[in-house]
């Protein structure tokens, strides 16, 4: 493994807080949720593993304690329980996950049952090929045919989110920004209150 400090992009003398912050930012960047069903998901997963190992190594070195981090398996790949109905859907799903898109195309093309699951799998196939407009359409059809399935809704939501805006990695420190904004808003409100003779936060 490479030097864990350079993997996280921190110096050896960085504080624990700085290391945690660096880890959080990298974890957000390479989190499986950002690579949901992405053809490069395995590369992102490798990066994630590197980052986790680096963080573990630093923690062990500094405090002598182990740290175990487990991230969720990506929700896009049908982790919701239950079978996929017939074996052929399962075969098609496996082909897509393995990157064998030609085989998936043949399998799905030969199916006569073109219900919600078929549309969902066609959407996944289109997504892998980079055919984004088709992917959106298939996912929407699947969600319309079976509104109860969370996977289908999630896929539609994912496409909608990525259609609305463009998200460079540097924009993805959303949580901490929101917290900072909330905090500073409350502090401002408290100052305003005090200027007018009142008090919002008694201890400040």
């Amino acid at each position: 493994m490479n030097d864990p400090y350079s993997t996280l992009g921190v110096s050896r003398s960085a504080s624990d807080e700085e290391i945690k912050k660096a880890y959080r930012e990298l974890a957000r960047k390479y989190h499986p949720d950002s690579y949901v069903d992405n053809p490069l998901a395995d590369l992102a997963q490798e990066k994630m593993k590197e980052i986790n190992e680096a963080y573990d190594a630093i923690q062990k070195e500094r405090s002598g304690q182990g740290y175990a981090y487990q991230y969720q398996s990506d929700p896009f790949s049908g982790s919701s329980a239950g079978s996929y109905g017939s074996a052929s859907f399962r075969d098609a799903r496996e082909a897509i996950n393995a990157g064998d898109l030609a085989r998936a195309e043949i399998l799905l093309g030969s199916m006569t049952n073109r219900g919600a699951e078929w549309n969902y799998l066609m959407g996944q196939l289109a997504f892998r090929k980079g055919w984004m407009a088709d992917a959106s359409r298939y996912f929407r059809t699947a969600a319309t045919m079976d509104p109860t399935n969370p996977d289908y809704r999630q896929a539609v939501a994912y496409m909608e989110k990525n259609s609305q805006n463009v998200y460079p990695a540097s924009s993805m420190s959303g949580d901490s920004d929101a917290c900072c904004r909330a905090f500073s808003t409350v502090m401002c409100a408290d100052c305003c209150c005090e200027m007018m003779g009142g008090d919002l936060i008694r201890c400040c």
């Binding site: 992102a44 980079g130 055919w131 984004m132 959106s136 460079p168």
Partner: protein, 295 residues
Amino acid sequence: MYGYVRPAKDELKVKEFERFRSAYCGLCETLRRRCGLAARFVVNYDLTFLVMALSPPCRTQERRCLAHPVSKRPCLCGDALLDDAADYSVILAWWKLRDDLCDGTFPERVRARAAMLFLRRAYRAASVRNEAFDKNTQLRLAELRRLEEERSDSIDQTADCFAAVLTNAAEKTEDPARKRLLKEVFYHVGRCVYLLDAADDLPKDIQSGSYNPLIFRWGLTEGLTEPVKEELAGTINVSLNMALRALDLREADEWQPILENIVSLGIPRVRDAVFSGVWKKRKRKNTPERSGERI
């Protein structure tokens, strides 16, 4: 070429802009050296993007050039990568001109024929040196032409042909993981270029009755309507996000912030300009798109 893949210059740091310019100058200089003086006009922003994505960290040398004779400028040092990128530029420019020859208006056809006369020798040499890229480009464009003749209503299938041409620029990358991610970047950027070009050409195509996938996909008769703009912008955004996620996996070198700027800020601005009609007006004011992008 198309010039859609450009940075938001005002959002780049000065050193980043200078690096970008050195890549552009490096490509231009390599074109001159390798393909002849006439080939210099083939230099464009789109291929500069490819050069930056493929290149190792920046090594420059000071050079004076014909277009800027007053002072020397840092220019990316020639290497095998720039040589290939120069060949790809010539090959792509050649086939675009062939396309203009078939589909263009009368003045466009005249210009294309003249340009092809200048470019013929350079194209012949480039296509011999990079036979696989040339053959693949021809194959994909033939597929595109077939789809056009069938009046295909699939924007994805038509865009795929064009996008696949650009992915071949990454074919010579040695590291398999890097090759995959670069192909993904080039695919989605190429897809955006195709869709933007279709949107840009829409009024002209409606008038002349030429094929345009947007016409058949949405039954357009007058130009982009608001709902169509929204859907088209949406699908372009999805591709831009996919390109960004792939770029995130690329090594964090000096080119990275420039590439991110282009994909997350530059191309969206061009998209807005194309949709509002400002892009076409700007093109009519400046020199023809094939060259002279002021930098």
